[in-house]
């Protein structure tokens, strides 16, 4: 099982801040595909050409990053602090 968190405009568009998935997709890219397969706003937000950043266990992660049970995955738009 993994925990998935959504932030900022993603959280707003998806209408949720977090969820727990029983399935552990092998990579961030595979997790994105799984979310796209839900259709509707999910496929819009996570479409391949959308600039969505990912973190695994609170560190920036690339699409190829492997996932393990109990990982925390965060998805968010490009950051705008400072």
């Amino acid at each position: 099982m993994i925990k998935v968190l959504y932030f900022a405009s993603l959280k707003e568009r998806l209408g949720r801040a977090d969820e727990t998935l029983q399935e552990v997709p092998p990579t961030i890219a595979a997790l994105r595909e799984l979310l796209v397969s839900r259709g509707g706003v999910w496929s819009e937000v996570f479409a391949e050409d959308r600039p969505v950043l990912a973190a695994v266990n609170q560190e920036m992660a690339t699409a190829e990053r492997a996932l393990q049970p109990d990982d925390e995955v965060g998805f968010f738009p490009p950051v705008t602090g400072g």
């Binding site: 973190a55 968010f76 602090g81």
Partner: protein, 165 residues
């Protein structure tokens, strides 16, 4: 190397944050600071307020990693990053980056490096309230990515190679 990282909803007191950069350490020869303020104008529209959201836990880790990287590049004595979250208003300080070192060269470079990296790597997001009551998420700027990328190709700063008599 003493590092203070803080994310807070309360107002940022710039003067009070600077003194601890040098108090009690006579090896400090200079403190360089950057204060980011909220503007009342963005992308051609008047802006009346802003809320800042972040990723609790990751934010502190990301800021710490950026400061650690600066400390590995330059000889620093103390560093401090304080960032506001929640509701802010025009003129409010949003972020303070302050760096103390024996010589100004290290402090100037490290301070700019930290704010450039913060802008592209620390998980904060701004949502603006425009004067007519609408709200919108602020878009990331390509110029911020370019500023951060510049440090990856930058030569080691001359200050780090200088031998001080």
């Amino acid at each position: 190397m003493e590092i203070e990282i803080r994310v807070q909803e309360t107002p940022l007191d710039v003067a009070a944050e600077l003194m601890p950069l040098y108090t009690g350490n006579a090896a400090v020869g200079g403190v360089v600071s950057f204060v980011g303020l909220m503007r009342d104008f963005n992308d051609g529209d008047p802006v009346s307020g802003m809320t800042l959201e972040h990723y609790p836990g990751m934010t502190e880790k990301a800021l710490r990693a950026i400061v650690d990287e600066a400390a590995a590049r330059w000889e620093l004595l103390r560093a401090r990053v304080v960032h506001r979250v929640g509701q802010v208003w025009p003129q409010d300080p949003i972020v303070l980056v302050a760096v103390a070192s024996a010589h100004r060269g290290e402090a100037f470079r490290a301070c700019e490096f930290i704010i450039d990296y913060l802008k592209t790597r620390a998980p904060f997001w701004k949502r603006e309230q425009t004067a007519d009551g609408r709200t919108r998420w602020v878009e990331a700027r390509a110029s911020d990515d370019a500023a951060a990328d510049n440090w990856q190709t930058a030569e080691p700063a001359p200050a780090t190679r200088r031998v001080t008599p």
